[in-house]
């Protein structure tokens, strides 16, 4: 590593950089589960197929929600589908996710959620009590998030063509005048905040599936992030550069997306990232990095250095965000990469997820 770079090596590094910088091309012959995992395959599908097809300014920014102005009203629109298995898990259920997930996509765009639509795709044979329980969960979660469900649709498909139920929600929000957010607005010096301990939702789901025969107290963190977004915008105003909820693919995937979108480097301090001991323990046993595990109620925020302390204090005052922490900083170089100063004192690259987070055999 300490040897000088030769011309030939420089040339090869150049080839790699050129290949990396190229727009993603979607060439896979079939959809595999990796396309749904939130990592590189998902990104290739979105950037290589979807964005070019629906070219729009809002789509090109690839935020969680698209912005649209209607008669001088600044609105945000977003949609999300929910296919979680099992439909009920410690700490939540598919119905709660369907509301909070969409509410959070709006909140992360700086939009106060106003209304939702709900589509239900039901599998033939579904127990009506299960349906009733989820409808009640949706209603209760929507009330808690102060958002109305104003339209909906139902479809029933043959047994085996869906797994119990799939939900799809679309959310409309009003963009808050305090919001000055863009995924491309990260600046060197920005501080990175996370709203609490990470990895709980994904780990709760993995363990609830029962495949690992591990028992734990881990519960999903599903919750509305509007109160946290509200507090951050109030405390930091225009110094709040962007927010993301760290869902599929976890904090690592969000940071990679943003580093690329803004052309900056992100440097994390691993030891400062809050992780519950039970989540850390399960992740250790399974050989999975909590940074890649999904959350349903955690956001990552980028705040200019002068406002970072106030923003963190405001975040910690929000119920459910008591363990919010500053976990790193934005740097200039190497652009598009996420680096981690490990708790052990070394340094590594935290890359995009290549497929599903699979346990290693060795």
């Amino acid at each position: 590593m300490g040897t000088p770079v030769t011309d030939r090596e420089q040339r090869i590094l150049g080839i790699i950089e050129t290949a990396r910088a190229k727009r993603a091309r979607f060439k896979d012959p079939r959809i595999t589960m990796a396309h749904g995992a939130g990592g590189r395959a998902t990104q290739t599908m979105i950037e290589g197929l979807l964005v070019p097809a629906f070219a729009s300014a809002a789509g090109a920014e690839m935020g969680d929600a698209g912005a649209v102005s209607v008669d001088a009203a600044d609105l945000a629109l977003t949609t999300d589908s929910f296919v979680v298995k099992p439909i009920r898990f410690p700490g939540g259920s598919i119905g709660e996710l369907a509301v909070n997930g969409t509410v959070n996509d709006l909140a992360m765009s700086g939009a106060r959620p106003v209304a939702l639509t709900l589509s239900l795709i039901l599998e033939e044979g579904l127990d009506s009590d299960d349906l009733r329980a989820e409808v009640e969960a949706i209603a209760a979660t929507a009330r808690a998030a102060d958002v109305e469900v104003i339209a909906g649709d139902t479809k029933v498909v043959q047994r085996g063509h869906a797994d119990q139920m799939y939900l799809c929600t679309t959310g409309l929000g009003r963009i808050d005048p305090r919001a000055r957010l863009s995924p491309a607005s990260l600046r060197p010096g920005d501080r990175i905040l996370v709203s609490g301990a990470i990895g709980n939702h994904g780990m709760a789901i993995m363990l609830a599936r029962g495949e690992f025969e591990l028992e734990s107290e881990i519960v999903s963190d599903t919750r509305s992030l509007w109160p946290a977004a509200d507090a951050l915008m109030q405390a930091a105003g225009p110094s709040l550069h962007t927010m993301r909820d760290a869902t599929r693919g976890g904090v690592a995937s969000v940071l990679n997306e943003l580093a690329r979108a803004s052309g900056v480097a992100i440097v994390l301090r691993e030891g400062d990232v809050p992780v519950d001991p039970a989540v850390a323990g399960a992740a250790e046993i399974l050989g999975i990095d909590p940074m890649y595990v999904a959350n349903e109620g955690k956001l990552v925020a980028f705040v200019a250095p002068d406002a970072a302390a106030e923003a963190l204090a405001a975040l910690r005052a929000v119920p459910g965000c008591e363990r919010a922490a500053e976990i790193g900083e934005v740097k200039t170089d190497p652009p598009g990469m996420v680096l981690v100063n490990t708790a052990f004192g070394g340094r590594r690259v935290m890359d995009q997820l290549v497929g599903d987070p699979l346990p290693r055999i060795c």
């Binding site: 590593m1 300490g2 770079v5 030939r8 090596e9 090869i12 590094l13 080839i15 790699i16 950089e17 290949a19 012959p29 079939r30 959809i31 595999t32 589960m33 990796a34 495949e211 690992f212 480097a265 440097v267 030891g271 001991p277 850390a280 323990g281 250790e284 990095d289 740097k331 200039t332 170089d333 190497p334 990469m337 680096l339 981690v340 100063n341 490990t342 708790a343 052990f344 004192g345 070394g346 340094r347 590594r348 690259v349 890359d351 290549v354 497929g355 599903d356 699979l358 346990p359 290693r360 055999i361 060795c362």
Partner: protein
Amino acid sequence: MRFVDEYRDAALGQALAGEILATVDPGRHYKLMEVCGGHTHSIYKYGIDDLLPDNVELIHGPGCPVCVIPMGRVDDGIAIAHQPGVIFTCFGDMLRVPGSQGTLLEAKAAGADVRMVYSPLDALRIAKQNPEREVVFFAIGFETTAPSTALTLKRAKAEGVANFSCVCNHVTIVPPLRALLESPDLRLDGFIGPGHVCTVVGARPLQFIPADYQRPVVVSGFEPLDILQSIQMILRQLADGRCELENQYKRVVPHEGNLRALEVLAEVFELRPHFEWRGLGFISQSALRLSDAYVDLDAEVRFSTPGVRVADPKACQCGEVLKGVIKPWECKVFGTACTPEHAIGTCMVSPEGACAAYYNYGRFAREREVV
């Protein structure tokens, strides 16, 4: 976390890094091979490279069990997976390993019933739950995972589970190491020994490395302090002019190994006369197959497979990279024909392979200071 955090203490790590710096001869370049993929993983995860002096280089060895599976074997697996009625089971990280016509993950998308399991016993359970289906377990791994496959096969035989069978790709660690060491252009100064394999086979089988090839070897644990300490032990040997087998991982690895596990292995498996390794070619007696007593459970006997050997592309120089003769970027196809998205050789297949690591992080590794 108790019994974990103790091995990840940053202050102790810094102290060891200081000792290492004091041990190395600044005028000498050291190339040490970590044999096992698990070590490579830890080295990345904790950023251990970063704590080493510039003149200590770690070379990633042939011990990543998924990376060394040749394309022809993957093709055979996919062919079995596509047969009607088959449920094909394997470990998760096998799903992404490319054969000549794609991966098992793609076979699954194309309609094959491919399922990820965490243990071969899970595959046996699936077989018992689906008596009308043929359930095949695609076994991979070194001596570390072979005992669990062996126990599963023993149980399947004892319980008479007729619809269960196994494609055995288990490999052994000593022959590829010997093949590397036999190479006249070898440029390695010492070895970090594969701790997990040694929990089964013991430290003793690695004695040939210092005895026959005059290279120090230290059997190492997988926590960051384990690895740093092992590196320090190797460098100390080199500084003292010693060349020995040492065991840093004594808390787990007995010198003679796990005798009960070895007994089960001997009963269920026998050595193949030869086996192909991606990047290394054919190596004699380097892999296991089911013994005659278990032939009924051998999927290679039960199913017909193409069994075609798919040659590594001629331009691929994984062997030289593994031996430390060339650096990844010196390979003829590196970064052009061979990339992480379209890997040709073993070193590019796994994200932890030497070439994939260089492809992804090489530029960064060059720049020690982040602006």
